[in-house]
Symmetry: C2
Subunit: 336 residues, 2 copies
Amino acid sequence: MSYTIKDVAQKANVSVATVSRILNNLPGYSEKTKEKVLQVIAEMGYQPNAIARGLINKKTKTLGVLLPAVSDTFASVVLSGIEDMAHELDYSVMVCNTDKDGKRTMKYLQALREKQVDGIVFVSEFFKEEYYNAIIAMNLPVVLVSTKSQYDIPFIKVDDREAVFDGVNYLLERGHRSIGMIAGTKGDPIATLPRIEGYKRALKEKEIPVDKRKIAFGDFGFESGITAAKELLDQNEDLTAIFCSSDEMAAGALSYLYRMSIRVPDQISIIGYDNTKVAEMAIPPLTTVGQPLYEMGKSAVKMLLDRETAEQKSVFMPHHIVERETVKVIENKETE
Amino acid sequence: MSYTIKDVAQKANVSVATVSRILNNLPGYSEKTKEKVLQVIAEMGYQPNAIARGLINKKTKTLGVLLPAVSDTFASVVLSGIEDMAHELDYSVMVCNTDKDGKRTMKYLQALREKQVDGIVFVSEFFKEEYYNAIIAMNLPVVLVSTKSQYDIPFIKVDDREAVFDGVNYLLERGHRSIGMIAGTKGDPIATLPRIEGYKRALKEKEIPVDKRKIAFGDFGFESGITAAKELLDQNEDLTAIFCSSDEMAAGALSYLYRMSIRVPDQISIIGYDNTKVAEMAIPPLTTVGQPLYEMGKSAVKMLLDRETAEQKSVFMPHHIVERETVKVIENKETE
DNA sequence: TTGAAAGCGCTAACAA
DNA sequence: TTGTTAGCGCTTTCAA
């Protein structure tokens, strides 16, 4: 058993109220008693019990974070930003691996509520109606990162449509005319549909017809990148570049091309999305559309904690193209 | 404001004690009142306050995890195992990014204590004396994962010496005689020294002299793998293989070799350590000494929570070589 | 400047 | 089978 505030009060010959005041920097004691109490505290190694505090304050100084998988390269960087900012502001974070499982997510939401977290950040997943209802019921601030919802919940994300538009345009500007796309999960209204729109719009602006066979779907993971790359290459003989909706899928594509002895970027150019560590480590180093993942995590926490004062609104974060070595410039534009 | 147990009791016309009993599956009420109360609870959407509970039980059903960085490929898989097992056992986990910073670690230790976590798992870092003292003072169960200490604290890890021995031996068996090593942080008594010993022992058993110039040091990260690979290649003309002390460093080596147009495994064989996702995604796919990272995380939680009953002892987890495509068999053993 | 005491939401001993 | 009540460790009136 640890010491309690009572023990400290006794030993210092003051009341618990006084100790509490000193602990919380409230006015109401002489410099002398303060010194005395502080000394006793140091001697005993007393640490206040945050649970007891939380019961009164109705604040636990802890946040809940829900994400599809902590070991996900993408989510873990966001988490890292969340964690850093939380630490800066003296908050702790509880991580919840939803595994993309609705039932598991609901269980976590309940646990977070029971444990009285002060806010929730929800990363990169589709935000279901039942989550919304649960969160409304708990009356807690929430912010969405890298996803959004039909409800009035603030989010922080990149403008996917614009980001992909820019990425495809980057390819276009370098002379590519036959560009494939490895998109995300089919039908995903957050991370797939808008990106496909961005892709289409970029082509249309250059008056290049959109060809369905040039779009393959994956699930953002490495393996699916391999499969999708194969599909694309089998169906299109003239492809000079592929836009991939995640760095991991790009890595998968790279892997497939390596196996097929197709040289990147000489024969095929590849561009990824996210700018995670896998882009850096890829061979060759992957050119990609970067999202400020770490910053997004940080901002989410700031926004969450600000919400108690000023009502915050959603924000779109800037994306930018990180040039590395997987995109080649095609010179002979005459063929067009 | 949410409802409290009192509200439920009032509305159901029973005492709070009865509601509490029902909530905790304790004996002492009729089936009829149970039904009634359960119905009222459902109607109100009442959720117990875990903070109030924790104050009495002295159990918060939450664990603290300290790790160097959540975005680390290695640590995040361990975290994932921890999280899954914790969830299975109805615990929550608080993550603490120590950033390898002693001061930050101490701050976290204090926060975890104040928040009354039921146990701590400490991942993959050097366990300093001050941490030990702090933890002793809090009187909390701790388990170390992928690290160990001079103190009597249970750990879960792979036997590094054996693992590296096996890895180097794997190379030896395939005819390699001039093998370089990219080791971890110089002087690290946990993850570097024993591994170098394993490397040396393997060579000695084959009566191959150990050459200092064949050992380079890194920091387990990608960039350092690049630098170390360059160093090794510059200093040794005859190298046919490199053992790397992490997959990330192996990826760095791969990257350097690619840039130098040295073919893997035709000209140089590479073997990594950890078997993280980067090994899978490498080009070519990386042969590596695998650690059961996810399982280690799971076991750590099990061990931590068992400690309240049976006193658990440290365990060495099995390692195994994952064969992929970066090691070539050298036929002409005559040259030896 | 200080202390006594109520109470946060809950559990558990004791009584009925 | 049920209720009353005393705390858990702390903050916060209110009174001195």
